[in-house]
């Protein structure tokens, strides 16, 4: 089994700060628990983490490799776990691109030394200062030689949709290094980002969790398709994370239809956008929509846009809305399980050897 979204936590702040360059370390130390990354304007009503997990350093669950192995990797037989940042995904909406670059460098080195060195089943994601795409490209190239890094990780919150030409250096570097770009929902409306959906900040976490997380992912997907990112970079692959799935058929049907009528605006698109998605874009499953008994309807709609080939399992450990691997196995159609639980992610991360 491959779990594509395991959020590793910074519990021991001093351990992390040791990876920050000396000239900026004190600034990060003075920024409080989020270490300078922007905080949400709403608060989760009961906490972002699963209550029952063991607290590690700093009272934080999933903050050491031993905890993640004991609570997820070992008991569920996870062959490969793709480790993702938590608060750190918001690095690219920090106001200062210089602080952001320092944070990203520290996080990637911390990921490598503390996590990837600890267990051969871990694969890393590279966070980058996307607000400065050239610096982001430099960071990808600096880190990518270590084949245990399996993807570049961006957050949903951004100044502009990621298809914009300003982001080309970032995507070029990822493609050149054979790394898929993962975009994980989060940080919409934080820091220098704009709000997902274009109508301002939501009042409640429930609103963001219902819409905000999906809106940013939809926006980046449509942007990258319309700007022809996959034509520019034949080696570019995309992994869209935690943005929901139920909307996908509707958005792709709309985009395919609009492409027929409005293609003179994007005349470089020479085939249906949904075909490009089926080939080059993958989606993590969590949180798979609860359907009140209508799973067959959900799966039929997803099949129309390429499922099961486009889906990769993710648990979102250790967050409150975690999808349990065994529960997911029970839910999925039997013939979808091998692809979603392993094969699709193994193919996506093909440039990086995956231990099965």
């Amino acid at each position: 089994m491959i779990d594509c979204d395991i959020h590793v936590q910074i519990g021991d702040r001093e351990q992390f700060l040791a990876f920050v360059e000396p000239g900026q370390r004190e600034w990060f130390r003075s920024q409080g628990p989020l270490l300078g990354t922007p905080g949400y304007t709403w608060v989760h009503p009961t906490g972002f983490m699963r209550d029952e997990l063991e607290a590690g350093p700093g009272g934080t669950p999933a903050s050491t490799p031993e905890l993640v192995c004991r609570e997820l990797i070992d008991p569920y037989g996870v062959d490969v776990g793709l480790l993702t940042a938590d608060d750190g995904i918001a690095v690219s909406v920090m106001a200062s691109p210089y602080r952001a670059a320092a944070y990203a460098r520290a996080h990637n080195d911390w990921m490598r030394d503390v996590w990837l060195d600890a267990d051969p089943r871990f694969r890393g994601t590279i966070i980058v200062p996307a607000q400065d795409p050239r610096a982001a490209a430099d960071e990808i190239r600096r880190v990518a030689d270590d084949s245990r890094f399996a993807a570049v990780l961006l957050c949903g919150g951004a100044e502009r949709p990621y298809g914009e030409p300003r982001y080309l250096p970032l995507f070029e570097a990822a493609a050149e290094c054979g790394l898929p770009v993962a975009i994980h929902s989060g940080a919409e409306g934080l820091g220098i980002s704009t709000t997902a959906g274009g109508v301002g900040l939501p009042s409640f976490y429930i609103e963001w969790h219902t819409l905000g997380s999906g809106c940013s992912i939809m926006t980046h997907l449509v942007s990258l398709l319309c700007h022809g990112a996959f034509d520019r970079f034949p080696d570019l692959n995309l992994l869209l994370m935690e943005g929901g799935l139920g909307w996908l058929p509707g958005v792709l049907w709309r985009l395919d239809t609009n492409w027929r009528g409005l293609r003179s605006e994007v005349p470089w698109l020479d085939r249906r956008p949904s075909e490009v998605v089926a080939e080059r874009v993958r989606f993590t499953t969590q949180p798979l929509e609860h359907t009140d008994g209508a799973d067959e309807l959900l799966f039929a709609m997803l099949e129309a846009v390429g499922a099961p080939g486009i889906l990769c399992f993710s648990s979102d450990h250790p967050h409150w809305d975690y999808d349990d691997p065994r529960q997911m196995l029970r839910r999925l159609p039997a013939d979808w399980r091998p692809g979603i639980m392993h094969d699709n992610a193994a193919a996506l991360l093909r440039a990086r050897p995956v231990v099965a």
């Binding site: 030409p165 700007h227 022809g228 990112a229 034509d231 520019r232 492409w259 027929r260 009528g261 409005l262 293609r263 003179s264 005349p267 470089w268 249906r272």
Partner: protein, 123 residues
């Protein structure tokens, strides 16, 4: 070689076509538009019904199809009819929608003779 049952029909006057850029005629029970492509001087006869939603497609614009690499706008030389409803394009030579091979508008041979526009249909 001409298929059995095909024949030429009078679709209107060349003067009207030159003045308006298009003629709409009822031929063999079908509404057919004759379009003058002023950029090339070519004349096309097209069934006046879009296969997508049934629009009077011959009231749309004739233009050159755009192309290009990402971020670049070029013209590819193909002349297309742009449907006034929803904007789907149809190749004026083949009648096919380049974006959807299942969509095709009927096109007919056309010629100008003695001041008249003649359209050939199967009946």
């Amino acid at each position: 070689m001409r298929a059995a049952g095909e024949r030429w029909h009078d679709g209107g006057g060349c003067t009207d076509l030159e003045r308006d850029g298009r003629l709409i005629a009822r031929i063999s029970g079908r509404e057919i538009g004759v379009l003058l492509d002023r950029a090339t001087g070519d004349v096309h006869a097209v069934r006046n019904r879009c296969p997508h939603h049934g629009a009077p497609i011959c009231l749309g614009a004739v233009r050159e199809r755009s192309a290009g690499a990402p971020g670049r706008y070029e013209l590819d030389g193909r002349r297309v009819l742009h449907c006034p409803w929803h904007g789907w394009e149809f190749d004026l030579e083949s009648g096919r929608c380049p974006e959807d091979g299942s969509m095709r508008v009927a096109v007919y041979p056309v010629r100008l003779e003695a001041g008249r526009v003649l359209v050939r249909t199967s009946a």
